[in-house]
């Protein structure tokens, strides 16, 4: 693959298909005020999409994460969430706890 072709593909196949959603959002945002009912609905849609992304990564993980058994992935996310709730709603505590459980679980499993 030549250098120029690689960059052309980056723009046509990577940048444009992603950017089109942002520009559609730019156009659609016209006339939506925050605190409006429409805004509340869009916000709920965005949160649901994000939750969908999270669940999909956990259940159908990419790359090397797939080699960690489902039980360990779920245990790690539950422990991370519990740490977040217990340690004064600290995101850092939650992320660290989740990663520790995942790593220990993976080590015990022999990865």
């Amino acid at each position: 693959m030549s250098e120029l072709y690689a960059y052309t593909l980056l723009v046509l196949v990577g940048f444009l298909p992603t950017e089109i959603w942002r520009m559609l959002g730019l156009v659609a945002a016209r006339g939506i005020a925050d605190e409006s009912e429409l805004f509340m609905w869009v916000r709920a849609v965005a949160i649901a999409v994000l939750a969908g992304v999270i669940a999909k990564i956990l259940l159908f993980p990419p790359g090397t994460l797939a080699s960690v058994p489902l039980v360990i992935r779920l245990a790690a996310i539950v422990c991370g969430f519990a740490a977040f709730v217990i340690v004064r709603r600290s995101v850092l505590a939650g992320v660290v706890a989740g990663e520790v459980v995942l790593t220990l679980g993976a080590l015990a499993y022999g990865i």
């Binding site: 990577g14 950017e19 709920a44 999270i54």
Partner: protein, 253 residues
């Protein structure tokens, strides 16, 4: 934002709005780096940088991809599809489907930062910078920022996260071959754990909580049933249901 001082000297006295915009921009930039998510972004992009290297792309290409595509899952699909020799049109469709999640995020972010007189041009950069991490932190922090300062603040948050992503891309690109699988599994796990926790932290209304719960259930179901554009349907169904229940409860009060 009265407590913010212009860090550069000397401030041009004729353009006070300009210099306070720069100060607000840097306040946003700092806010990004004070967030755990900046370090999550570095970790995630170490993985993406390594992947891009392993699939035979150059460092310039990897960093251009982070700047232009600026969406982790889309970048992973792009490099893996292109190096597997997938047809460009097919790859573009897969990238486009994965990026559809950005649409509701851009709409809700822009609603928070625009004013009646704001031009489209001023919104292009914040729209381009919108990704999950930037959206989460902006939605949390923007309500405390005066409306006239929100665009430079959001740009600061977005570019702060992008700086973290570029650092991660660079590190990952050079470490690529020496990353053990245990570490890459841990890096890949950063996304779901940090997104789940920081979204939970942002939930205030009942519709937020319901949307989170419905999304967690519908996402895998839609994916398992192989519905096209599964994430967009998850969002529309889960979000509408959450919003509907919230409205119904308000009406019954």
């Amino acid at each position: 934002m009265g407590q913010l001082r212009q860090p550069m000297s000397p401030p041009p006295p004729t353009e006070p709005p300009q210099c306070s915009a720069i100060a607000v921009f840097f306040a946003g930039f700092r806010a990004a780096w004070q967030s755990v998510l900046a370090y999550v972004v570095i970790g995630t992009y170490v993985g993406i940088g390594a992947l891009t290297h392993d699939f035979g792309f150059g460092l310039g290409w990897a960093m251009a991809s982070t700047a232009l595509v600026w969406a982790g899952p889309a970048q992973v699909i792009l490099v893996s599809a292109l190096s597997a020799g997938a047809a460009p049109l097919e790859t573009a469709l897969a990238v486009g489907v994965s990026s559809a999640r950005l649409l509701p995020m851009v709409i809700s972010l822009l609603a928070l930062i625009r004013r009646p007189q704001t031009s489209y041009r001023a919104l292009i950069l914040p729209a381009h910078l919108t990704v999950v991490t930037m959206w989460i932190e902006s939605l949390r922090l923007l309500p405390k920022v005066p409306r006239e300062a929100r665009i430079p603040f959001a740009n600061g948050v977005g570019l702060g996260f992008m700086a973290a992503a570029q650092a991660g891309t660079l590190i990952g690109f050079y470490l690529a071959s020496s990353l053990p699988p245990l570490l890459t599994a841990g890096l890949l796990f950063l996304t779901p754990i940090s997104f789940l926790i920081s979204t939970t932290r942002n939930c205030r209304l009942m519709s937020d909580w319901l949307a989170l719960a419905f999304g967690l259930v519908f996402g895998p179901l839609m994916a398992a049933w192989q519905v096209g554009l599964d994430l967009l349907w998850t969002g529309i169904l889960g979000g509408s249901l959450a919003y509907g229940i919230h409205r119904l409860r308000e009406a019954l009060k």
